[in-house]
């Protein structure tokens, strides 16, 4: 059975949501943190309900609804989300109040919206959707876990029109803590110059991207999602990639474009550079994290990028590292998160 990406919607630090062009006007940020460009949420969410919603919920509900609108689907057969940190804004709010108010007379709102399944739950609530609904929280493969579940549901013929998204919000507290943990650069950098900085650390990011997966063939589909695989601490990532391609009856020569998860951290990017000298030597290469920053479900941005490249046949210049000029039909996304979690996604033009 073939799995198609019917539609996609993405809120990111770039003009990706309801944008006219396809990353043809990249937004530059100076610093170590990229924040999303906020759409007019009123178009998607009742302003009365919106007051109680944190950033991640607003992004999630808006992209989910936009994705359904684009697909012309009112009721998805399943709603599946991936997020590593979940609803950080409400979590931090509640933690702060516990301490500041000495555990007495706390308001419940932040707590009830702090659970990791809140985004998927709020989407279900908005749509009055009683179907399969779940949330994966496995660090750098949270989004891929959601995709694997959705593809399995399609193959089991348990559901169709499956809405799948990755959502992550960066709040001041998490940015500060992750900076102290050494994830980000110690000096401001232009995101558009990220790969020329050659230093330790990356830049933080956030965003939400939703996709509608279907088994129904249509000329309106964006692309087909051939396969998704996660690898945890693999012995050899090159062997893992080769095995993945082989299991899909492909070799590296069949791949027209590789989208890598390079994030500008010299240590992190060694893995990709080694592959570019070996297995990926003859492949066109694109990168994306200078546009959206590093975050655990950033691969959802990469999938949005790949699906739109497959549909349009054009590769936005801002993502190109090495190009051949051929319009890509078969795209491999390879991302790793802190060199522990590796993921592979195969996207093809329809």
């Amino acid at each position: 059975m073939k799995v198609f990406i019917r539609s996609a919607s993405c809120i990111s630090p770039q003009k990706t949501f309801n944008a006219d062009g396809f990353l043809n006007d990249p937004v530059e940020y100076i610093g170590t943190r990229l924040q999303t460009i906020e759409p007019d949420y009123k178009e998607f969410i009742d302003p009365k309900l919106m007051r109680r919603m944190s950033h991640i919920i607003k992004m999630g509900v808006a992209t989910a609804k936009d994705c359904l609108n684009k697909a012309g689907v009112e009721m998805p057969g399943a709603i599946i989300t991936g997020t590593a940190f979940g609803c950080m804004e409400d979590t931090i709010t509640f933690l702060t109040r516990i301490i500041e108010m000495g555990e007495e007379m706390l308001p419940p709102t932040a707590f009830v919206h702090s659970t990791h399944n809140t985004v998927a739950a709020q989407i279900a609530l908005h749509l009055q959707c009683h179907n399969y609904n779940t949330t994966f929280v496995q660090k750098g493969i949270s989004f891929e876990s959601a995709l694997i579940d959705g593809m399995m549901l399609l193959k089991e013929q348990e559901a169709n029109d499956i809405l799948i998204g990755g959502t992550e919000e960066m709040v001041d507290t998490s940015f500060k803590v992750l900076t102290r943990l050494g994830l980000y650069k110690r000096h401001p950098v232009s995101n558009l110059d990220l790969f020329n900085d050659h230093s330790k650390g990356t830049i933080g990011g956030e965003g939400a991207a939703f996709f509608l997966l279907t088994d129904k063939d249509s000329p309106d589909n964006l692309a087909s999602l051939t396969a998704v695989k996660t690898l945890y601490k693999p012995n050899s990532i090159a062997d893992g990639i080769a095995a993945f391609l082989k299991s899909n009856d492909l070799t590296i020569y069949d791949i027209d474009l590789i989208i890598t998860g390079k994030n500008g951290d010299i240590k992190n990017d060694e893995v990709y550079e080694e592959l570019e000298d070996t297995l990926f030597k003859n492949n066109p290469i694109a990168n994306y994290k200078h546009l959206c920053g590093e975050y655990p479900v950033s691969s959802s941005f990469a999938l949005w990028l790949a699906a739109n490249i497959a549909k349009s046949g054009e590769i936005p210049e801002i993502v190109v590292e090495k190009q051949t000029g051929k319009s890509p039909k078969t795209i491999l996304i390879y991302n790793h998160y802190q060199n522990k979690y590796h993921s592979l996604m195969l996207v093809s033009a329809i």
């Binding site: 009830v112 990791h116 279900a124 399969y132 609904n133 929280v137 399995m152 943990l181």
Partner: protein, 399 residues
Amino acid sequence: MSSAVYIAGIGVISAIGNDVAGHLESFKQEKEGMGDITMLNTVHRGEIPVAEVKLTNEELIKITGLPANASRTSMLSLIAAKEALADAAIPGFENLRSGFVSANTVGGMDKSEDFFKEFLADNNKGRLRDVYDHECGSMTEIVADQLGVSDFLTTFSTACSSSANAIFYGARLIKSDMLDIVIAGGVDALTKFTLNGFNTLLILDKEFCKPFDANRQGLNLGEGAGYVVLVSDKVAATLNKKPYCKLTGYNNSNDAFHQTASSPDGTGSYMAMQGALKKSGLQPKDIDYINLHGTGTPNNDSAEGTAIKRVFDPVYPPMSSTKSYTGHTLGASGGIEAVFSILAIKHGIIYPNLRFQTRMDELPVEPVKHFISGQKIKNVMSNSFGFGGNCTSLIFSAI
């Protein structure tokens, strides 16, 4: 493709025992695990009862061998998952494709709380090692490494239905031939975050909880972990002992009513139970015992009771909420109660719903009040319903 998925091993830790044998003993003695808070550093000590695992962090570190700063969540998870895997004793485990699918709701929050107090006073303070494993997925990663499982791992977080979702996801991974073995279930440790969270919702009983009782006042929070080892039919055939049972039915439906409250007619619960029955090919009359979600809150038990009436009326199987023993262990409850459901089939036992006095209006029957053994139990339904409308029912069936 494996057509059936078998349960080859089980492991559990909660306030009423540190392993399966300890639980069976507490059940027989009708001894609940609730009491005053002794470990959590909170102002609610002496005021709100909880069901703590009867081991301090220091004792857990000794037992598990995890680092001194390990989250209680990871330690509880490791103990139960290890017990389950040892119980399964799968020949040639190393050469089979194995996965660890876990679940929890607040990950390493117990340690993050310590960090955050200092951090809030000064953003450059707070020991980073206390916040390093904050994420839910970190707990799974730590335990998977200890179990020697690396082919596949993931974590569910759907509030109180988390580990029920993990269990049937594990079964689906086996059925779709991605894996041969999955250790699946979930964990949660008591934290100030959840204690205060539930307290703000005014749904914590100041006495020991009375699930499904007309005069119920709320839930008691608990902690623990429960895991099952799921195997394909091929692996089941190689086992040195008979598997416990099969997982035959499962369904995940959403109530889509309110972020925290259940709909009055229990729409999500009803759909989850009906869906699980349909998946298993069973009729309501085939169910020999229902392990209720039965938190003890007025809202949950009313919605669940109403949904049970819609599914089962007029013939009701015996039912009880084992949360009257363990408290509500949140993300762990589906895993812990799956283990209890499996033990009910294996030993022919039904657990009492402790402290039950008065039948509630929503149901024409009462839950089981005393421990019963010598029953012939073929099919058990286990319910797990949570915030966000996430409702999941599982059905375990004798072989």
